[in-house]
């Protein structure tokens, strides 16, 4: 039963990879990466139960946190084309670029 659920999660992750490859806009790709990260968290926890190693749950916790940060960073990069800019709309990088 657990192996069937793991196979189902792998199938869902494959469909997400298809959407990430053929997604027409950047946001489809970011969405597919984020959703696949969530499925990976569930998959890691399930693998820990399947093989009788509950220490995998720590990996799942860390992966859940990193997934969120990676999604926000990717979105900021695709929106502003750089990571060194404020998210508040103020253009803080202008002072450094004007003097160059």
């Amino acid at each position: 039963m657990l192996a069937g659920a793991a196979l189902g999660l792998v199938a869902a992750m494959g469909l997400m990879i298809v959407r990430a490859v053929m997604g027409p806009s950047h946001y489809d790709r970011i969405l597919a990466a984020n959703s696949m990260g969530t499925k990976t968290v569930l998959f890691i926890a399930l693998i820990g139960f399947l093989f009788g190693r509950p220490a995998f749950l720590d990996v799942a916790i860390v992966y859940a946190l990193i997934n969120f940060v990676a999604t926000i960073a990717l979105m900021k990069f695709f929106r502003y084309q750089s990571l060194s800019q404020n998210l508040t709309g103020q253009e803080a990088a202008d002072e450094t670029t004007e003097h160059v």
Binding site: G8, T38, L42, F68
Partner: protein, 121 residues
Amino acid sequence: MSEPVQMIGGALILLGAIWSIMGAVGVLRFPDVYTRIHAASLTDTGAATLMLFGMGLMGEAGMVTLKLFFVWAFIMLTTPTSANALANAAFGSGHSPRIGNFQIVRGKNGGGSAPDRGARA
């Protein structure tokens, strides 16, 4: 841990996997960025709740249950937040949602799944 509780936990995990596949099919089939965000966000939180609750029923109570609760809490905090930020960024960059009666026309405009900007809003 008794046998029926294990069975219920396994059934919940399997239901969560089926739920996740349904969400992935929705993300693959829906015509718009916003509808895809809707499908992915809702089914991710639902599948995570079902699967982690099933795992909590299967494992022994204690540290494992606490860790599963932490994973569930992180997912329930971060998935709606990232979906909201993603929709906000997509709307701010000029993607208009497709409103009204429309059909997905194959062969026109690259398979018809690309959001056409401002044509139907």
